[in-house]
C-alpha cells in the first residue's frame, strides 16, 4: 500500500509540475489557418482552371517553336515533346492543331485531377492544416479519450488471458484499478500532450514556417497564372475598349484575391511565431484580452475576404 501511495504521489507531482499548454494561442493559430484555407480553396479552384489553360497554350506554343524550327531563341522547357508540330492555321478559318500526344501534358488536358502546380499548392496547404490540427488536438487533449479506451480494452484482454491461465476474477479487478486511476491517467496524458505540443512547436515549426515562406514566394507565380488569360485577351483588345476594361478589372480582382492570400499567410506565420514565443517566454504578455481581440480581428478579415471573393465571382464572370 505504501508503494502504491508513493506511486500515486509521484504521478501527481509529475503531472502537477507540467505547465498548462497554450490552448488559447493554439486555437488562434488554428483559426487563422481556417481563414487562410477558406480564402485559398476557391482561389485554387480558379488556379486549376487557369493552369489548365496555361498548359494547353504552352503546349501549342512549344509545338509552334518546333514547327518553325526557330533556334534563335532558346525557351526553357521548349524541348519537351520535340516531334510534335502544329498543322493548320493557314487561314483565319482553319484552326491550328498539334499532330501528336505529349504524355507530360496529360494533366493539363484531363479534368480528372488537378494540374501539377495546383496539386502542389493544395498539398502544401493541407500539410499546414494537418500540422495545425495536431497542435489543437494535443492542446485540447482530444486524443486522451481514445487512448483511455485503448487502455480499457487491453486491460480487459489482459484480464481474460489471466483468467484462462487460472487467475479467475482478475479481469474485473484490473478494470477497477484502471478506473480508480482514471484521474491520474488524465493528468499523465495532459503532461504527455503538453510535452509533445512543445516539441512540435519549438522544434518542428521552422519546417512549417519554411513551407509557409515557399507558399508566400509562389504567390507571384500564382497571380501570373491566374492573370495570364485575361492579360493575353487584354493585349489583343487594343481597339476594343470594353473588352480591355473587363479584362483589366478581372486582372485587378485577381490581384486583390492573391494579395488577401498573402496577407492571410503572413497572419498565420505571425501567430505561429507568437506560439513559439510563448515557449521562449512563458511569462509573456499574452492575455485573455489580447487573445480575444486578435480572434475578433481574424473574424473581420474572414468577412472581408468573403466579400472580395463574392465580387470576383459575381461581378466579373
Amino acid at each position: 500500500m505504501k508503494a502504491i501511495a508513493l506511486l500515486v504521489a509521484g504521478c501527481l507531482l509529475l503531472a502537477g509540475c507540467t505547465a498548462s499548454p497554450p490552448v488559447g494561442e493554439t486555437r488562434l493559430v488554428a483559426k487563422s489557418f481556417d481563414n487562410l484555407n477558406a480564402a485559398s480553396q476557391p482561389l485554387l479552384d480558379e488556379l486549376a482552371v487557369a493552369e489548365r489553360n496555361q498548359g494547353k497554350t504552352a503546349a501549342l506554343a512549344r509545338a509552334e517553336i518546333h514547327t518553325s524550327n526557330d533556334s534563335s531563341t532558346s525557351f526553357p522547357d521548349s524541348g519537351r515533346c520535340p516531334k510534335i508540330l502544329v498543322v493548320g492555321g493557314e487561314t483565319k478559318d482553319i484552326p491550328k492543331v498539334q499532330n501528336g500526344f505529349c504524355i507530360e501534358d496529360s494533366y493539363y488536358y484531363s479534368e480528372l485531377s488537378d494540374p501539377p502546380a495546383t496539386r502542389a499548392f493544395r498539398q502544401a496547404l493541407a500539410a499546414v492544416g494537418d500540422y495545425t490540427q495536431l497542435l489543437v488536438i494535443l492542446a485540447e487533449g482530444r486524443n486522451v479519450a481514445e487512448a483511455k479506451d485503448q487502455i480499457m480494452t487491453l486491460t480487459n484482454n489482459l484480464g481474460l488471458a489471466l483468467s484462462a491461465a487460472g487467475a479467475t476474477g482478475l479481469g474485473p479487478t484490473l478494470q477497477g484499478l484502471v478506473s480508480a486511476f482514471d484521474p491520474l491517467l488524465d493528468l499523465a496524458a495532459k503532461r504527455s500532450n503538453a510535452k509533445e505540443l512543445q516539441r512540435l512547436v519549438v522544434q518542428e515549426s521552422p519546417k512549417v514556417l519554411k513551407l509557409v515562406a515557399a507558399m508566400h514566394t509562389a504567390a507571384s507565380e500564382f497571380f501570373n497564372t491566374l492573370a495570364e488569360t485575361p492579360l493575353a485577351r487584354f493585349n489583343l483588345a487594343i481597339d476594343k475598349p470594353e473588352t480591355a476594361k473587363v479584362e483589366a478589372d478581372r486582372i485587378e480582382a485577381y490581384r486583390i484575391a492573391v494579395s488577401n492570400y498573402v496577407v492571410l499567410l503572413d497572419q498565420y506565420e505571425a501567430l505561429l511565431r507568437d506560439l513559439v514565443k510563448v515557449y521562449d517566454q512563458p511569462r509573456g504578455t499574452t492575455t485573455l484580452a489580447s487573445l480575444t481581440e486578435r480572434s475578433a480581428q481574424l473574424s473581420a478579415q474572414a468577412d472581408a475576404w468573403r466579400r472580395s471573393l463574392a465580387s470576383l465571382r459575381t461581378g466579373l464572370r
Binding site: A61, P76, N157, N193, E196, I238
Partner: protein, 344 residues
C-alpha cells in the same frame, strides 16, 4: 533576375511596343501582322509562366514533404509506451497460454473396444438427471444414425458457469484468428472459418507458429504423426500453407454439408470415436459444458474415467459463433461463415 524572368520582361516590353505601333497605324495588313505577333508572344509568355509556376511548385513540394514527415512522426498517443508494454505482455501471455492449452490438448480417442474388465456405464442414463430426455451417445459411428443425437446434444449443451471465463478466452482467440481462417477456408471451397479455427484451437492452442496437422514447428516438415508434412514446398512454411495441406489431407475441401450435426461428426471423428465406444460424452466436443464432467483418454492412450479435460469443448465454441447459438441450425450453415454474434 533569372533567365526566365528576363525573357518575360523583354517579351512584355515587346508586346507594349507592338501595341503602340498598332494604335498608330491604319494599314490593315500591318495591324493583322501585329496582332498575330502579339498572339504568338502571348503563347511564349504562357510557356515561360508555366516554367516559373512549376519551379515554385517544386519548391512547395519539397517543403511539404518535410512537414509531412513531422506530422508522421508526431506522438499522438499519450500512453503509447504503456500500451506497447501491455500489448507485449498480452502477446506473450497468448503465446504461453497457447502452449499450455496445446500441451493439455486431448490425445486421440482410440476406437478399440473397452477392455473386458472396464465397466461401461452410459453417461446421462441416470433417471433423475435434468437431462434425462437426452440419450447416452450411441456406440455407432455412422453419421446417418448419429445426426439426431448430435443436434439434440448441441441444443441441450450450455457453458458451466464456473468455466465461463475460460470459454470467453477461447472465443476471443478464435475470433482473433478469424481473418486468417476465412482466407484459408475460401481457398478450399468454402470450409467455414470457425471449423478451421476450432480445430486450430483444439489441436494447437491457437498457436500460429505450428503445423495444423499436429502443432510441430513450421520451420520444418512435421516430425510427429502425420510425419513429413507438407510434402510439397520447402520449409519454413507459412501457417496458411500448412493449414491448407492439413485440411486437404483430411478431405475437408470436398465436404459440402456444413450443418451442425455434420460439423460435430467431423470434429469428433478428427479426435476419434473412442469415447463413443464407451457410450460417454467426448470432452473433445462437450468439455466445459453441462454435458461433460469427467473421463478422458490420457497421454498413454488409456482411458481414465476420473481424469478431467482442461480444454474447452468444440461444441461450445461452435455454439457461440453460430447465429442464435445454432438453434434450428440443423440445416446448412453458411459456407465461409461470416462472423456472428457471440451467444454468451
Amino acid at each position: 533576375m533569372s533567365q526566365t524572368e528576363e525573357l518575360r520582361y523583354e517579351i512584355s516590353r515587346t508586346i507594349n511596343t507592338l501595341r503602340r505601333r498598332y494604335a498608330n497605324t491604319a494599314d490593315e495588313a500591318e495591324r493583322k501582322t501585329l496582332l498575330d505577333t502579339i498572339a504568338s508572344l502571348n503563347g511564349k509568355l504562357s510557356l515561360l509562366n508555366q516554367v516559373s509556376l512549376l519551379q515554385a511548385a517544386q519548391a512547395l513540394t519539397d517543403a511539404t514533404e518535410d512537414v509531412r514527415s513531422v506530422i508522421a512522426a508526431a506522438r499522438m498517443g499519450p500512453f503509447d509506451g504503456y500500451l506497447a508494454a501491455i500489448e507485449a505482455h498480452l502477446n506473450r501471455l497468448y503465446s504461453l497460454s497457447g502452449e499450455i492449452h496445446a500441451f493439455e490438448g486431448l490425445p486421440p480417442a482410440q476406437e478399440a473396444a473397452p477392455a473386458e474388465d472396464e465397466t461401461v456405464t452410459p453417461a446421462l442414463a441416470r433417471p433423475h438427471s435434468p437431462l434425462r430426455d437426452l440419450q447416452p451417445p450411441l456406440a455407432n459411428t455412422d453419421f446417418a444414425q448419429l445426426k439426431d443425437e448430435y443436434q439434440a446434444w448441441f441444443d441441450a449443451c450450455e457453458v458451466r458457469p464456473a468455466q465461463q471465463g475460460s470459454v470467453d478466452y477461447y472465443l476471443k482467440r478464435l475470433n482473433l484468428g478469424q481473418p486468417t481462417y476465412a482466407q484459408v477456408g475460401e481457398d478450399l471451397n468454402g470450409i467455414p472459418w470457425y471449423f478451421i479455427g476450432i480445430i486450430h484451437g483444439m489441436e494447437c492452442g491457437f498457436n500460429f507458429n505450428g503445423h495444423l496437422h499436429n502443432g510441430d514447428p513450421l520451420t520444418a516438415r512435421t516430425v510427429h504423426v502425420p510425419a513429413g508434412c507438407p510434402q510439397g514446398g520447402s520449409p519454413p512454411f507459412t501457417w496458411r500453407q500448412s493449414a491448407s495441406d492439413a485440411l486437404t489431407m483430411k478431405g475437408f475441401h470436398e465436404i459440402s454439408d456444413w450443418s451442425v450435426p455434420r460439423i460435430l461428426y467431423l470434429l469428433e471423428k478428427y479426435n476419434g470415436f473412442g469415447y463413443r465406444k464407451r457410450r460417454v460424452a467426448t470432452p473433445y466436443l462437450w468439455s466445459f459444458s453441462n454435458l461433460y464432467s469427467k473421463g478422458k483418454f490420457t497421454q498413454d492412450r488409456s482411458y481414465d474415467p476420473d481424469a478431467v479435460s482442461k480444454q474447452c469443448g468444440a461444441a461450445l465454441m461452435l455454439k457461440s459463433v453460430l447465429p442464435a447459438g445454432g438453434r434450428g441450425a440443423r440445416r446448412q450453415v453458411s459456407r465461409g461463415g461470416r462472423r456472428s454474434r457471440s451467444t454468451r
